[in-house]
Structures are given as C-alpha cells and as structure tokens.
Symmetry: C2
Subunit: 79 residues, 2 copies
Amino acid sequence: MKIIVNVTPKKTVLDPQGAAVGHAMEQLGIKASSDVRVGKTIEFEVSSEDTPAFRVQLDKLCKDLLSNPVIEDYRYTVS
Amino acid sequence: MKIIVNVTPKKTVLDPQGAAVGHAMEQLGIKASSDVRVGKTIEFEVSSEDTPAFRVQLDKLCKDLLSNPVIEDYRYTVS
C-alpha cells in the first residue's frame, strides 16, 4: 500500500516561500489567480492492511510527526 | 484550474530527511516497507485554459523553478 501525505500551511497562515514562488512564476509568464502555497509531501509504502485501526495510527502519525496542526493542514491518499 | 505540483528526490538520491522520518515512524508503530521520501508540494490556481501551450509552460516552470531535475522528479495534477 502506498501512502502519500501532503502537508500544507493553513490558509490563514502567511507563507513567504509561497509568495516568493508566486513572484518568480510571474516572471516565467504564469500568473497564479490565488495564493501559492508550498508544503511538504511524504511518500512511503507499508505492508499492513488498510483497516480502520491503521487509519487511526496514520492520523496520529500525521498529527504528531509529519505536521504541526497549529499552522498546517494535512491530507493523505492510500492506494 | 487548480495545479498541484509534487517534487520528490529521485530514487537514486540519498534522502536523509526521509530516513529520519522513517526511523521516527517506527517509534510510533508504523513500519514503512520502502524508503520514506520527503519532497515538496506547490499548490496554486490559475485562470487560464488547460491548453497544450499551457502544459508546455507548466513543464518549463517545473523544470526551471520548482524542481532541480538533476536530483528531483516532479509530477503535477491539473483539476
């Protein structure tokens, strides 16, 4: 099972790295119609089954280790 | 149109950050059956149409600004 976790700064949090990317994109001719947000992506595979207990464990992992819930949102895909 | 670009270190490139996350995950009870890779995710919206010309521009953006093609792979989703 492949897990991809995406961690992005919350909408209300200032993202200077994203703002810098947004400015640089304009120079390259792509104008973003929204804020640009830069986050993290964590990819790994696990051999365990996709059970509700595993999802609980995965949520704990995301909250405790992979993201800072005060300023970041996370979402993951399991495939 | 929402664009999500994922940039990850190439398989052959050492990822110490990913290795550290892998070790920490084991402490939390999730054992990854593969290397853990930590990359970047860049999210933004554009108002232009999804044309082949736009894709070319987007590829150029990914190669020139958002990733280092020597050590990183990128992929994007347009939705």
